[in-house]
């Protein structure tokens, strides 16, 4: 609209604003996208399935919305967006010390653990979150509660039913023992907890349960048997045997990995002292062994004299057997071959390169012809076997 100037009237010029589209005026484009809406619904559903408090749901939803604001997430594939749902719920649970494993979340979402781990690390970095580690004690309580051994049923005979509190208490002690003896650090927690639960269950009524294997136990309890659980079980039994060697009334019994289960209660009662003693003796044994080795390396004749003198001290057959020291599993394995230090390199990067050095990376004309013939023959063979 403009008003033309006329007889002394001021000239008014109004600049028209550019046309505003309907979508911009109503904020239609600001609406949440369909995939984001679906994701937010999935977050809420997952929180309800896991029976999490409502505050967790709000936090997880907030994280999902924050993550969705990043262009990398908005443009990601649907698979990643579905996994993002689980990541937000997991982070929320971790921040509230609610024990939830990645395996559980992946199982509920039918997600691949590799995709989940990549998305999880990305989200933690993107949102700058500080995610506390999973508390082992809480995980033990939650995981043990899922074992179906606390009530008799057609699949679980009465002799296999156990009191939940007793089993939980003993499992916790065994897991603490595993933690102190280097069986937990650097390893997936669930196999250790499974092995500890099995031993706790066996030790509470060993007369009926010693014949039951770990695999059968997991089947009875209706839980999956993690692959490394058997190795963790053997390691835990070795630790218990080392501890038993320090108890006077068990030394005479000559226990093995089967019979030591009956005495787990005693061992756990004195575990702090026994473990400390076993480690101290183990370290002393190792240092003595190293000194002897160094002595032998320095002078074989000197070493021989030492060995001879030590053998004269005690007659053969009466030398006390030295128990294997209680050490972290990585130290019990045979030491890796020490790589010889690489020779000092004199390469500067700017040396001259002679033609003869390059010839080895180029085919001769004859080799090129042979290669082409071989390729043609292969193509022909393929076309014969796969006719159009």
């Amino acid at each position: 609209m403009s008003a033309a100037g006329g007889q002394g009237r001021p000239f008014l010029r109004v600049f028209l604003a550019p046309e505003v589209t309907y979508s911009r005026s109503t904020g239609e484009n600001d609406q949440v996208s369909r995939s984001q809406q679906r994701g937010l619904r999935r977050v809420r559903d997952l929180c309800r399935v896991l029976q999490l408090p409502s505050t967790f749901e709000d936090t997880a939803v907030a994280y999902y919305q924050q993550a969705y604001r990043h262009s990398g997430i908005r443009a990601a594939r649907l698979q990643k967006k579905e996994v993002l749902v689980g990541c937000c719920v997991l982070i929320t649970c971790r921040q509230h010390n609610w024990p939830l494993t990645m395996g559980t979340v992946c199982a509920l979402l039918y997600a691949d653990l590799d995709v989940f781990s990549g998305t999880y690390m990305q989200i933690v970095k993107l949102l700058g979150l500080d995610v506390p580690s999973l508390c082992l004690a809480d995980l033990v309580k939650t995981y043990c509660s899922s074992f179906r051994l606390f009530q008799a049923s057609p699949s679980v005979p009465a002799k296999y039913v156990e009191d939940k509190e007793k089993m939980l208490s003993r499992t916790l002690q065994l897991v603490e023992l595993a933690d102190e003896t280097w069986l937990v650090t650097g390893r997936h927690p669930l196999p250790v907890i499974t092995a500890a639960t099995f031993l706790a269950w066996q030790s509470l009524q060993p007369s009926h349960r010693l014949t039951c294997s770990l695999a059968r136990f997991c089947k009875l309890a209706n839980v999956d048997l993690p692959y490394p659980a058997s190795s963790r079980l053997q390691e835990l039994l070795s630790v218990l045997l080392r501890m038993a060697e320090r108890l006077a009334w068990l030394q005479v019994l000559k226990l093995d990995k089967r019979s030591v289960v009956k005495h787990i209660g005693d061992l756990l009662q004195h575990r702090h002292t026994l473990v400390r003693k076993a480690f101290r003796d183990g370290t002393a044994e190792m240092e003595a062994g190293e000194k002897e080795l160094r002595g032998r390396c320095q002078g074989p004749e000197q070493g021989k004299e030492e060995v001879a003198s030590s053998s004269l001290d005690l007659p053969e057959g009466k030398r006390p057997a030295s128990p294997t020291p209680l050490l972290p599993p990585c130290m019990l394995k045979p030491p890796k071959r020490i790589c010889p230090p690489p020779p000092v390199s004199t390469v500067t990067g700017d040396e001259n390169i002679s033609d003869s050095e390059i010839e080895q990376y180029l085919r001769t004309p004859q080799e090129i012809k042979d290669f082409e013939k071989a390729q043609a023959a292969r193509q022909a063979a393929r076309s014969v076997s796969n006719p159009p």
Partner: protein, 179 residues
């Protein structure tokens, strides 16, 4: 190990990644035909060429961008890259060796003691993160040095230092090569 003990730690560089440009288009088919020790990955549009001395593997794109991996020092990486450029020159390409840069250095080191990872992580937040369900090592980031350390309970440590920011190519970049 005491704080005052004089134990020297050996840090061994195991891998150096570098990139350079040839400033000319490269015919990958010709390289695959006339070069020795090559693998032609037609589906992703690149050629892998391995050198014996130094022991490096080069990934060659038709745009003339090349990544070399496997060297055990920066000087060796440069020497290997130049050797590769020379090989391509011998094949008849008008190669000019330019834009050489070392992008990544990987080293390993062994501590003479074991490490309790949960306690270590607790005492070193927020630099350290430990997810035993995903990986058996603690990931420790030093932002100022652009370094990432993987710390294992055995005492073994892997150090990765990013020297230059570099984006790995995607299949869509096979024509253009890495950025």
């Amino acid at each position: 190990m005491d704080a005052d003990s004089d134990v020297a730690l050996d840090i061994l560089i195991t891998n150096v990644v570098c990139v350079f440009r040839t400033r000319c288009h490269l015919n990958l088919r010709k390289i695959a035909l006339e070069g020795a020790n090559v693998i032609y990955k037609r589906d992703v549009g690149k050629v892998l060429m391995k050198l014996r001395k130094p022991r490096i593997t080069a990934t060659i794109w038709s745009s003339g961008k090349i990544i070399c991996t496997g060297a055990t020092s920066e000087e060796e990486a440069k020497f290997g890259a130049r050797r590769l450029a020379r090989s391509l020159q011998k094949l008849g390409f008008q190669v000019i060796f330019t834009d050489f840069k070392v992008v990544n250095v990987l080293a390993v080191c062994n501590m003479p003691f074991e490490i309790r990872l949960p306690e270590f992580t607790k005492n070193n937040r927020p630099h350290a993160s430990y997810e035993p369900e995903l990986h058996p090592a603690v990931c420790y980031r030093i932002k100022s040095l652009r370094a990432t350390l993987q710390i294992f309970s055995t005492g073994s440590i892997t150090v990765t230092v990013l020297k230059r920011k570099y984006t790995l190519p995607t299949p869509l970049d096979s024509e253009q090569g890495p950025t």
